[in-house]
Amino acid sequence: MLQETDPPTPQPTTGPETPGAVRAATAPPEFVLRWADNALIHSQRLGEWTGHGPVLEEDIALANIALDHLGQARMLLSHAGRLMDPPQTEDDLAYFRDAAAFRNFTALELPNSGVHAARGAQGDYAFTIVRHALYSAYMLAVWERLLAGPDANLAQIAGKAIKETRYHWRHASDWLVKLGDGTEPSHQRMQMALEQFMPYTNEWFALDALDLAFLSRHVTSDCRAHSARSAGDAAPDHAHFSRPDQSHIAPAADSRQPLEALAGGLRAQWLALLEPVLAESTLTWPSPSALLTCGRYGRHGEHLSVLLAELQSVARAHPGAQW
């Protein structure tokens, strides 16, 4: 991270995405940091494959995908830092926070070798592909919601990121099928990776009031129409969704369980993408698990500290250094 990106100033007059939209709400840094840290930590894990990929093309592909995530992380960290008092730079946030201040999902800090580290430090490509696929499908739904959401700065970042994430999803889903419906050993490893990883996705749907404020579509559309709109719609054009008004920030009295409705809507979008690909990959959906990790509240496993030690050591040894 060499230089701070200029503020993505809202430009209501130039964006075709914002025809007359009222975007009054600004998401607090706590919410922005979740997506920033997800992008940063996932980028670091993908980047660990550089020079170690199973084939040259994949080595390059994962490095490029890591770079996309790093770019997204920079924009999000810069934005979060500007909202803080006193303001922080992207470097302050990336290099000088300790693990407990990170807001990424636990799923993304798990080592590339998988949860049980049975394959040692080399990394398990099956585990990497499963995580990459499940996460990019999830982020397609998240970016789409942020793009249509009430925060203009997040909508701008989402508008760029969603285009990249579509390519991530296509890359990941191709490999899900190639390896899942590949040889018997590759199938077994993919199924094992899926079973290891799936419990960690529970956290992705354990939502709170911030998600409700900034990931909801129009409350009524979320409760009634998400199944009709999102089923089978791989990368819906945001323009097809009604512009949210501000009423979703204070949930309507008649929507009794808005968090459950939001989680259900998000999961429906995710499943609509995943299910046809998993079916073709001949992988079977693991049975449900009750595991609930809390990385996004700063309660991380042991792996994040090790990851951060590598990510932050140079910047901390030479604070303020320029290169």
Partner: protein
């Protein structure tokens, strides 16, 4: 905003039109056969008294060329006597490969890079099952930049830079880069 014309010249004074043209003529750091203007990343120029601001949009969030582009634009402005100049990165509307000019597409093809398709909706990069892929629905209209055959296959979704994918021509057997539709 029209997808073909991200830069508005009409309201600029002659001196600023010349500045904008100079900025648009800077070669892209990654693919020097095309200019920043061809690539469609120059989004505008504005002046307040002696202060000039150029707006640039990045192609990909993590594109490492963005910093290079920023410094080259500043150098160009300084060389033309603008002492108070700044480059602002704008994100919205997000860059689209449809903004690459027709001239730029021809230069890319001549350089051996297949230019992106005409449209960039989400549908064009949706996951497809094997039947759809084998029926050649992968990138409609994609042709080998060397022999112009339409019989091509994708080797890797990601090539030498984030904006390119690696393909192979099944007719002349040469691999080639494809500037991805975004």
């Amino acid at each position: 905003m029209s997808s073909d014309a991200p830069v508005a010249h009409s309201t600029l004074a002659a001196v600023d039109t010349a500045l904008l043209e100079a900025v648009c003529a800077i070669p892209d750091p990654e693919i020097p056969v095309i200019t920043l203007g061809d690539l469609g990343v120059v989004r505008g120029l504005s002046r307040r008294d002696a202060h000039v601001e150029v707006q640039i949009t990045p192609t990909y969030c993590g594109c490492p060329a963005t910093e290079m582009i920023r410094s080259e634009v500043l150098q160009t402005l300084h060389a033309l006597g603008e002492t108070s100049a700044q480059v602002r990165i704008v994100l919205s509307p997000a860059w689209s490969s449809t903004w690459i000019s027709e001239d730029g597409r021809q230069k890319l093809r001549a350089y051996g890079i297949a230019p992106p398709g005409p449209s960039c909706g989400g549908t064009s990069i949706r996951w497809m099952d094997r039947r759809a892929r084998s029926a050649g629905h992968d990138e409609s209209g994609l042709r080998c930049p060397r022999c112009d055959s339409g019989e091509v296959e994708r080797l890797s979704e990601f090539g030498s830079t984030p904006c390119k994918a690696l393909y192979r021509c099944l007719a002349c057997r040469e691999p080639f880069d494809f500037f991805k539709t975004l």
